[in-house]
Symmetry: C2
Subunit: 231 residues, 2 copies
């Protein structure tokens, strides 16, 4: 077993067995080196691996701390890498997104409050009133994020946030089909909101699925044009 493996497994074990709990500060690097029997360099590489995965957080001059271990944050650690996926993988993620957005919409119908309905309404009004592609993208993002948050499952919201972050890189609102896209996109959002208002989970989820499928269709169609900045 390599020194790096020793460090990673050792640290992970300290958390898994409860010796270190979320929020706790790890012993200093010096102590951990002695405890695990590895050099400081190897230990630091191990700490970095776990911090890349969202398990640890390090503060310069203070120490390393165990993160709040929740599904949402751990899933969020994927956001650094999804930007590297090729278009083929993105389309796979769209298929997932379709199922997840539909599920989120269905869950949201059961939990949404009048205030939240008004909030979504306000977002849509603003979205329908703008033609700037950057604003459209941002408001579209906010609308879907709020629905996912209202659904009340942080893992679901994080997963959708990761997927959407990647999708936004392909700016379909900037293509020559932008006008047509906006009309159908606005209608799709309205349809989702109607489903939420009437507390009809089937209507909301099918509207969400249809909306994502529509976006996916445009992305496939405009693929050559849309691939712009990978950020």
């Amino acid at each position: 077993m390599s020194a790096l493996d020793t460090a990673v497994h050792g640290l992970r074990a300290l958390i898994a067995e409860g010796t270190l709990r979320p929020g706790d500060r790890l012993p200093s690097e010096g102590e951990l080196c002695e405890h695990l029997g590895v050099s400081r360099g190897s230990l630091r590489e191990g700490i970095r691996m776990l911090s890349a995965l969202g398990v640890l957080e390090t503060r310069h001059g203070s120490g390393s701390y165990v993160s709040d271990l929740n599904a949402g944050d751990l899933i969020g650690s994927l956001s650094l890498t999804v930007g590297l996926l090729p278009l083929e993988s993105i389309l796979e993620l769209y298929e997932l997104r379709r199922a997840l957005e539909a599920h989120a919409a269905a869950l949201a119908t059961a939990r949404i409050s009048p205030d939240e309905i008004a909030e979504l309404e306000a977002i849509l009004v603003e979205l329908e009133g703008t033609v700037d592609d950057g604003e459209q993208s941002a408001l579209d993002h906010r609308f879907h994020m709020r629905v996912a948050e209202i659904a009340g499952n942080s893992a679901l919201a994080s997963l959708l946030a990761v997927f959407r972050a990647r999708s936004r890189a392909y700016r379909i609102f900037r293509t020559e089909s932008a006008a047509e896209i906006k009309v159908l996109s606005d209608a799709g959002h309205r349809s989702i909101l109607r489903g939420l208002q009437s507390r009809d989970p089937v209507a909301a989820s099918s509207a969400a699925a249809g909306h994502v499928a529509q976006t996916e269709y445009w992305l496939r169609k405009l693929q050559p044009d849309a691939i712009g900045l990978t950020d």
Copy 2:
């Protein structure tokens, strides 16, 4: 910007802009240090972060290589950390799993072949004939994994594999309700397979959703007993 950030962003940029492609070997650590202007230690920490996320792979004595960048492998990198999540998060993941297994079953109805149906049938026969909890868990795992693979979306299959890996830690087949669980579990699997055989996506997906919901119910109910080995 810290030296570590310089290293991570520098490496990521080399991949994002296409200078380094999947399968390529990175320049040696010495060259990268000079190119990025950081020390070897900082560079190595950066490489470790990206390898923890499934973007790079390092071979002792040979070099570091860019991984096959696909959604499945990147999602698979979560498997190291989901084992650290508390039960509360696991139940969130179950809700996701319910939606995803249902989606996978629906997709599978459209793509499954007669051979694959026979394969699933064989797994169920074996599963129904055993009472050993380890075998039951393994066969249950194989059945669901095959369905996810047949669905043809590697990101979906990986995500479900990650979730299921965590669920298996809570060995509900070993509780005092094992007998009752086995009867309903077997029936649930049969129901899913019937949906696949008849190529009825609604039947298959609702059977899958019901099966997961049933498992989730048992986990909630047996929570105190079931929490055994986290590994």
